[in-house]
Symmetry: C2
DNA sequence: ATTGTTCGTATCACTTTGATACTAACACTT
DNA sequence: AAGTGTTAGTATCAAAGTGATACGAACAAT
């Protein structure tokens, strides 16, 4: 795709997709949230080719969702940690997961529980202002005019 | 990627991504939510090559997010409408958009308002059970054992 | 000295993509 | 009747991206 549409495009979805709009990037972020930090952990978890992984980790680092940290000087070893921007991707992951759970739910699925209450987490998107579920009320779209 | 991981993989995120894990598909769904239904509308809106668009529309239709409807017999013309599954993708779109708004927010952005209250929609993900924002409380992950 | 671990790079066949041109089936205008 | 316009694609093909595999560098451990 044309990934150079960052600041031109008024659509916030396009802008996000130009950063993490492919499946590998999203899976890396998923695994990073699950606590993985190292090249080989990602590689084994996802079965991704090392060339791909190198590129994706570099992009996510450049784009500020991950940061490299040296965890060993001898030999030099880096690990990849989530930044704030990367951590804030979690709601996206949960909504993607919620859709998959509902529409591709056959067989066994990974589950997420609230550690305090012990209840299974049911992620939904709401408008923080009105409290209404996204998609349940009519909305008005305002597209900025060009230039 | 390996797109044949539908029912094998216990991760609901992987399953969703095997259906709509590329930028074009997500942008088509965005435009479909904005009311576009026809081939040329999508093509002009996104600047996508017709070969790509044909394939993506076919995939989304096969996967049950869109459905074809004939709107003219002479000449034969089809349009693409969101199914329930497609409509339920809206929360994903809003969360992706929310991230882009927060971390790639320079310049003019499309805005969404609640038609009743007139307030700008601030999409967040919450756990419907506890009401807590996703990511603010510790959670426990349960991965099903193989076989 | 040999084996193992970790984080990659090199190579290369294969697949996907994207730009462009073109077609089919009409309607509409002159 | 001929030409123009609209819609929904298909055909072609070069360029780019992907992915499997092998290999390398820099050590640690035995």
């Amino acid at each position: 795709m044309d990934t150079e549409n960052s600041c031109e495009n008024p659509c916030p979805i396009s802008r996000s997709l130009s950063v993490a709009g492919d499946a590998w990037s999203i899976l890396i972020l998923r695994d990073a949230h699950a606590g993985l930090t190292r090249f080989d952990q990602f590689r084994k978890s996802m079965g991704i080719a090392p060339t791909m992984l190198t590129r994706r980790l570099a992009t996510l680092t450049e784009e500020g969702l991950l940061e490299k940290r040296r965890y060993s000087e001898h030999p030099p070893r880096e690990e990849y940690l989530l930044t704030d921007a990367g951590r804030d991707f979690l709601p996206v992951l949960f909504m993607i997961g919620a859709w998959g759970r509902k529409y591709r739910g056959g067989g066994k699925l990974t589950q997420f529980f609230d550690a305090e209450t012990g209840t299974e987490i049911q992620a939904i998107a709401v408008d923080e202002v009105t409290g209404a579920k996204i998609g349940t009320r009519p909305m008005r779209v305002v597209v900025p005019d060009e230039r």
